[in-house]
């Protein structure tokens, strides 16, 4: 990973690690129900303070914790219109496969963020916690890399087709 990104990703890693201490907790409002409290938000005492780690105005991570679930929302860096389009398509590709991804939320929390993960205690019991955190960090690195590679490939293709076309006139 690039040196500039390291402190940012380290901060995110440690925060998510700390937030991912989850235990099973049945719903206090409805008998025999078990809801992710970070989504239901009915009881203030079950929610932890949300933390925002931002690299700059355009890139940030929001981590909201609770007793049995954690929500991690990412805002991905998009400089120009082409990157916005690529980012939107990429997140749509992922959210449409949310069933396979278990920890993915089908819609981001607010239009302010691009993608959100929801991790409940049931999932932390089935999966290794350190690997879950690894996945989130790797995802953040990879998506930036993918978007800039796709943008480069579009630019390269544009340049080659333009040159081939115009060469015919010479």
């Amino acid at each position: 990973m690039s040196q500039a990104l390291k402190p940012y990703l380290n901060a995110v890693r440690h925060t998510v690690d700390a937030a991912l201490c989850l235990q099973n907790f049945g719903s206090m409002n409805v008998e025999r129900h078990n809801k992710p409290e970070v989504e239901a938000r009915t009881n203030k005492e079950l929610l932890l303070n949300p933390v925002v780690i931002s690299r700059n105005a355009k890139e940030k991570v929001l981590i909201e914790g609770s007793i049995n679930s954690v929500r991690v929302s990412l805002k991905i860096k998009q400089i120009d219109e082409l990157e916005q389009i690529l980012c939107r398509r990429f997140t749509r590709f992922m959210t449409q496969r949310a069933e396979n991804f278990v920890i993915l939320r089908r819609k981001p929390i607010s239009p302010d963020y691009d993608i959100s993960f929801l991790i409940t205690n049931f999932q932390t019991e089935r999966m290794w916690k350190h690997k879950l955190v690894d996945f989130i960090i790797q995802f953040m690195e990879e998506i930036d890399k993918e978007i800039s590679e796709m943008k480069l490939s579009v630019n390269a293709r544009a340049r080659i087709t333009a040159q081939e076309f115009l060469k015919q006139f010479v």
Binding site: F122, W128, F165, F169
Partner: protein, 308 residues
């Protein structure tokens, strides 16, 4: 393949095949820009084959002298157009010309010859040193080509509609590269792109379609491009430009989708590594009853809650 063909491959292949074994045929083929070809053999004599073309804006082309152009290219083979079609070429399969390949190729270029009429007129005007008026060819429902011959150059403006608004952003990247290609290649036509504002040459045009999804690409051709040696090639390239652009836009979107699918699949693999595969060893008694202890570490909260 990066460059598109200028001729219609189906027409060419069908004609060459019919020279080898003539049979009755009646087929309607479509080409770019909602142009249709009709290939048919005469009911009475299946050696006489007719190829007809139907173009939406033929009336406009007629004003620019398309009939003369077609007569010059096809000579005796040009006949009166069939019903519902705009131009027809008829020839005898039993008496093939000396070079069949070239003849089939030239019939397959029928669409290109029709559309080249305004460009040929423009180039002739420039040769004769009298600048002509702006010519409009409305070859698609929402799009048009404008040709303006001037003293020593020819300006061609494409008004292109992008149905998908993402295409507009991709097109901007592509056309920026066209405009920049002048820096590395010499003697190429100048290209400019403007997204919403129509260029100055079109300020007098009525019914100009302007909007969020419309873009205008301006080509400026200079003397070397219009010289007799290069003229035909220039016309070929200009006529297929719009389809070439859209073809590459779609290719690049398809490539991006394939990449995204791959990376999503690799993310899924990484995530699956995080699962701890609990080998649930079901314990059985001698009598066949199975049981699971409540404090068995492999019993997850789900089973305790008795839910999902």
């Amino acid at each position: 393949m990066i460059l598109l063909d200028f001729h219609n491959k189906i027409v060419e292949d069908t004609i060459l095949e019919k020279y080898n074994n003539p049979e009755a045929i009646e087929a309607v083929i479509s080409d770019f820009d909602s142009v249709t070809f009709r290939l048919s053999t005469d009911a009475t004599n299946k050696n006489i084959m007719t190829v007809s073309i139907s173009i939406k804006c033929f009336a406009q082309l007629r004003a620019y002298g398309v009939d003369d152009v077609l007569k010059k290219v096809y000579g005796a083979n040009l006949v009166a157009a069939e019903a519902n079609y705009d131009a027809s070429v008829r020839f005898d399969l039993a008496q093939p010309p000396p070079d069949r390949q070239a003849f089939a190729h030239s019939v397959a270029l029928l669409k290109r010859h029709c559309f080249s009429a305004p460009l040929i007129k423009a180039f002739n005007d420039i040769d004769a040193k009298k600048p002509g008026p702006l010519m409009e060819i409305r070859y698609r429902d929402e799009e048009a080509i404008y040709v303006k011959p001037e003293a020593d150059r020819c300006t061609i403006v494409f008004s292109i509609l992008f149905r998908d608004k993402d295409d507009v952003a991709f097109a901007k990247v592509f056309l920026q590269e066209y405009a920049d290609a002048r820096r590395s290649l010499q003697n190429v036509p100048a290209v400019q792109y403007s997204q919403k504002e129509p260029p100055l040459e079109l300020k007098d045009v009525r019914n100009l379609r302007v909007g969020e999804n419309n873009g205008f690409v301006t080509f400026v051709l200079f003397q070397p491009h219009m010289a007799a040696a290069k003229r035909e090639k220039t016309i070929d390239c200009i006529l297929t430009f719009r389809n070439y652009l859209h073809y590459h836009l779609k290719c690049s979107k398809a490539h991006i989708h394939a990449r995204m699918r791959n990376s999503v699949r690799s993310f899924l693999q990484v995530l699956n590594r995080a699962r701890s595969e609990s080998e649930s060893t079901v314990k059985k008694t001698m009598g066949g009853k199975t049981f699971k202890r409540a404090d068995d570490p492999q019993t997850t909260s789900e089973e305790l809650v008795g839910g999902v």
